[in-house]
């Protein structure tokens, strides 16, 4: 329980950091000039970070999942992120036009896909490293 809470809290801090930095960059670039930093803005960032931390709960199952269950969990994770971000931009940022919402949804999909591909790449290099170590162990034991 403590481990899960610690992990969620560190996720929250990371999300909060990146979200704040992201908003600051957008504001600096003049893409979202409506941002005025203050108490309300701070609360807004904290609330959004809490919402965005929630999908991480899906990955804290102790049960060993089958391949299909893992796929379902992935899809569910993606859908929840889509919903939360779209909810955020619709009610928080006032983005109401269908075209803008579709662009946001596609952007989230691309970002999710890139993160997923990054994970795959890391897993492949990890497996390669393990195979090299395995070969060394076998050589030693022969």
């Amino acid at each position: 329980m403590r481990e899960v809470a610690g992990k969620l809290f560190s996720n929250f801090l990371l999300i909060y950091l990146f979200l704040t930095a992201d908003m600051a960059v957008l504001s600096g670039l003049g893409i979202n000039p409506g941002i005025s930093v203050g108490f309300g803005w701070e609360i807004n960032m904290l609330a959004r970070s809490v919402f965005l931390t929630l999908p991480g709960l899906i990955f804290n199952s102790k049960r060993e999942l089958s391949v299909w269950e893992t796929v379902v969990r992935r899809v569910l994770h993606f859908c929840i992120i889509e919903l939360i971000v779209l909810f955020n931009v619709y009610f928080g940022d006032g983005v109401r036009t269908p075209k803008a919402l579709i662009i946001v949804a596609i952007s989230i999909f691309i970002a999710y896909l890139l993160v997923f591909l990054g994970e795959c790449f890391l897993s492949f290099s990890e497996a390669e490293k393990m195979n090299r170590m395995l070969a060394e162990i076998k050589k030693k034991n022969d």
Binding site: T70, S123, F124, E126, L134, I137, N141
Partner: protein, 146 residues
């Protein structure tokens, strides 16, 4: 029951001798324990008892309350619990790779990634065993230790 310990001159001469009127449950347990500490595992197929060389075992799997040892050709039922096997053979390159499987590292052909930081271990008989995220770290650590 009396216990006698004699000093052996060399490791080759080390042995355990059981002297008993008849093989009671206690003596059976001692016999199995001694055999388990060696290079063989006592396995059962139906009522038959086999001594399986440890080096032949690909992995141990717990199915419900029962534990099985898998070799390239046969599946043996084992009397021990999975955590006991894990403890007994941790120094013989056996390691837990999921809640229900203890695998012989030396019988792994290769690793490949699975979804969500998990891996598949391809065994020498072609079978693939899933290494769960929780135990993948331990396996990497064991591999690093050599």
């Amino acid at each position: 029951m009396r216990l006698t310990i004699r000093k052996a001159a060399s490791p080759e001469e080390e042995q355990v001798i059981l002297e008993c009127v008849e093989m009671t449950k206690d003596f059976e347990d001692i016999k199995e324990y001694v055999l388990m500490k060696g290079n063989v595992v006592v396995g059962y197929i139906e009522e038959r008892v086999y001594q399986i060389p440890l080096s032949d075992i690909l992995y141990f799997e717990a199915v419900g309350e029962q534990v099985f040892a898998y070799t390239a050709d046969d599946i043996y039922s084992i009397k021990n619990r999975l955590y006991e096997i894990e403890e007994l053979y941790s120094d013989r390159k056996f390691i837990r790779c999921s809640k229900s499987v203890v695998v012989n590292i030396l019988k792994i052909e290769s690793f490949r990634p699975a979804l969500d930081s998990r891996f598949y271990a391809k065994m020498k008989n072609g079978e693939e065993i899933l290494i769960s995220r929780m135990y993948a770290k331990n396996i990497k650590k064991k591999l690093m230790e050599g």
